[in-house]
Symmetry: C3
Subunit: 160 residues, 3 copies
């Protein structure tokens, strides 16, 4: 089944579904974290997926889930929200890169502050469970320039 | 017309269109409200749709439109913006749930403050007019834990 | 190849691909600007595309790229992030309008401030390179009411 442009309909549809699957995956992070559901949040990654931030690196779902649960209990409970922005998604077969900003808002007496603001690079892979994150890099917007370097890799699946 | 995976192309395409229709519907809320167009905003809901917040509940398009127009005239005019985040969308046939954060920014002398920050659950239904919201629940991020409870229901179409 | 509703599968799929292409285009703006990549950011526009703000108008990719590079070098370097919200996209054949909010966050000693908040109208056209912006209008949320006027045009491809 080939359309006029010579590209298979099913193949085109698959790419569209892939992009929406990745959008759904990224948009599930904030609600999972703010619900305190470390397992759901960690399930965004592959079993041995990595979450690499400027302050620490967590390896595998168990470490990621543990960190999310601990942080939620000790720091974030009910006065923090993790809001991920629109991911810029580039597909390349069974791999994809999604680049987006993340903000952590925190409740103050008279409203909310923007506590953290970071650039994110999600390196996604297609697995038998669906799309999952193999590697998420998050870098705070700050004078180190690390966020800028990460964003410079946005157009590039293989950027490193 | 069935593709290799045994699922109909038209059915798969319908799901993709549904997801984008819901994304378009949710993303129309902020512009409609900040344009002061209560009717356009209320038209996101079904005729008897409900908008349920921690401070009040509005029932039906007429009540919702009236509230939006009144608030826009009295409070929000030209110094406020309602920004809804990326919705996490789960489809189930003729129903769907979209979960997202909303922020109300307000102009200050030297920039903008994050005045309100809330978690939102949109319960959508397919109607002859297209997708519409049957029930929107909005809960402020605060010590009540109501936003957390709402977010815990994100993975579940029937969560209650 | 016509489905039960009488609308061609390929045509429906094209609309879905168009919408995702425009989403990808809009979401590339922030990362390109914050990476300091004026050329990538300007390439979102057509060769003679226009970027119209309340303070200045830039005409053509060269002017837009120059402004972005200058601003990044002088003002924004490493402590600013440009975060565009979910675009509300309306397609009409080879044209489209995408309406969204943009926020410029700026680093402070103790977190981040919302420095700028604006309404955006992207008038997109299909070109041989793919979708590009022919005209982007950005208006700050302020007492002028210009942002409100822009948002009132969101439901209308031809609004002016």
């Amino acid at each position: 089944m080939v359309d006029e442009a010579g590209s298979g309909i099913s193949e085109r549809l698959q790419r569209v579904e892939d992009e929406l699957d990745i959008l759904r995956l990224v948009s599930s992070y904030g609600p999972a974290v703010d619900a305190g559901d470390g397992e759901a949040a960690a399930n965004i990654w592959t079993e041995d997926g990595i979450y690499d931030t400027e302050s620490a690196v967590w390896r595998g779902r168990a470490e990621i889930a543990g960190m999310i649960i601990d942080t939620h209990e000790m720091v974030n409970r009910d006065d923090v929200a993790h809001v991920l922005g629109v991911p810029h998604i580039l597909l390349d077969g069974d791999r994809a890169v999604a680049t987006c900003y993340s903000r952590t808002f925190r409740r103050r007496d008279d409203g909310f502050e923007v506590w953290r603001l970071a650039a994110n690079r999600w390196e996604m892979v297609r697995t038998t469970e669906g799309w999952r994150a193999a590697y998420r890099t998050t870098r705070l917007i700050d004078a180190s320039g690390a966020a800028r370097s990460l964003l410079q890799r946005a157009p590039d699946i293989d950027g490193s």
